[in-house]
Symmetry: C2
Subunit: 338 residues, 2 copies
Amino acid sequence: MYRVAVDAMGGDFAPQAVVKGALRALKNFPKLAIYLVGREEEIRAYLPRRKPKRLEIVPASQVVAMDDSPIDALRSKPDSSIRRAFELAKSGEAQAVVSAGNSGAVLATALFLLGRLSGVSRPAIATVLPTIKKNAVLIDSGANVDCKPQHLVQFATMGAVFCEQILGLPSPRVGLLSIGEEGGKGNTLVKRTHKLLSESSLNYVGNIEGRDIYKGEVDVIVCDGFVGNICLKLSEGLAEALMAMMAQEVYQKRLAQMGFLLARGALKRFKKRIDWRERGGAPLLGIDGVVIISHGRSDETAIQNAIGTAGEFIEQQLVEKLRQALANENLKARSVTS
Amino acid sequence: MYRVAVDAMGGDFAPQAVVKGALRALKNFPKLAIYLVGREEEIRAYLPRRKPKRLEIVPASQVVAMDDSPIDALRSKPDSSIRRAFELAKSGEAQAVVSAGNSGAVLATALFLLGRLSGVSRPAIATVLPTIKKNAVLIDSGANVDCKPQHLVQFATMGAVFCEQILGLPSPRVGLLSIGEEGGKGNTLVKRTHKLLSESSLNYVGNIEGRDIYKGEVDVIVCDGFVGNICLKLSEGLAEALMAMMAQEVYQKRLAQMGFLLARGALKRFKKRIDWRERGGAPLLGIDGVVIISHGRSDETAIQNAIGTAGEFIEQQLVEKLRQALANENLKARSVTS
């Protein structure tokens, strides 16, 4: 049995989508138990008269708004659903937290209550991307906008462990996102990171360019969260724009609709695949606990998938494996410098 | 009559593609005269026996390699085709330079020989992108990897002048590329730039996200050259990856080929439209002269288009208009602070 604390008040369609997604997850995962955290009355409105056995409501009177500053939320909302959910994880009552709420507040609360794994200065969001070949992990996808070289090396290490342990790719190839393949190319951050990654024990293949992201020749794509977030959203927006451009062509040229529908289907599926929110959520790696960040627009299915993902990570002991890998990496780094 | 200095030795297919592209440009643009700069014998090999009247060969014995460092190229190759081409622009014999050679060396030589416009610290590459609505300008697309807020404001000003004077869009809307629409979101560079742009006289609409680039709701997209280059190359690579993914679907599902061909055609055209190399080249704005950077893989058509673009900018007095706009912007900035 594993227990997941779910922020019932987080997201645009909370609590309805969250409660219904949680009920569906309970049906699908027999070893799962859920704490639904939030305003009891509002949660109950969407529960069947007879509450499922493996579900418990944990009351929290406050709700963090999407535009609350993370620090303000921590300070002025001690009884928020996000805060209470993380307290359950801190006490060991829950082994994972899932929230579709204010992601800055989720990150700040996770740091404050659960803390970081040893060797991690900055937790990072890992997004699984589709490529022409297999999936790749883009890390950081948006948690850290200003980074130092050693942060990017930690992202690389966490991304590689995630690839190996969760996606099952042995010795994952790590690429550093830059503007030229030669090690000398890039901005100051990337040039310095390149040097550190070259000296690391990772399977580092060097710089990759923007056009290589979807080629599938590397398994882990490392960048700061500013660049990572722009890449993800650009990909989403471009898929949409291409659909619109193709629609314009179809109507201009009066060509068969079927071709357009086929292309549109492929683009829509691609958009779903890159949208980690639709995939159920992305893990926040580097926190001493399993944390899944879901998108604000999460529907029932997204919440159900996010809870399922959390369960998978608990069972695969993601945090323990990250902790060990980071300790080994630190040991190696120390033996190199000593 | 306007005169363009063309680096005959620059690019993967030089001098053949450059010489042939120049000949085609002469046929298409009756007011154009061309200086072909490079090794005379090699250039002559691709010219008709009777040299066209409006074409002149200017000898240069050295060639800058694609992997030469820009500074080394300047120092150790005083008789390079890039250097000689810019000397023609400096003396006033030519009014523009077109090169498909080492773009770092082109930038360094342009700075050294022609210098910057007053008010510009860093020249930037402006790329015209297709969107769902009309075209937009992405600036900087790769000239400057580490930037300060005032550089981004200058890029914004140059991009707006380019939009207004060359693309004919009155009062262009300027957006700052970031990871959230609120002014408080982004990295340190973007937050500081947001403040400066809000105080400028530009038609600044605020932050835009990656997903907005192809929506066509802003005319000028401002970012540093590291982010800009990654965005461009990601767009190119994603169009390719989507083609491959659709091809996989077609064969898997045994659906009609026509639909696939239609979609592939649209994606190919999109790829051509975002690839500034195929469009003939992108202007380097902020240099006291017209400079067009073409891609290393430029073929005859690309070179012909680049020369045509250079001619257009000369006739439209792009540099004069930029100079005036920058002076006005500086005047306003000074009156605000005084």
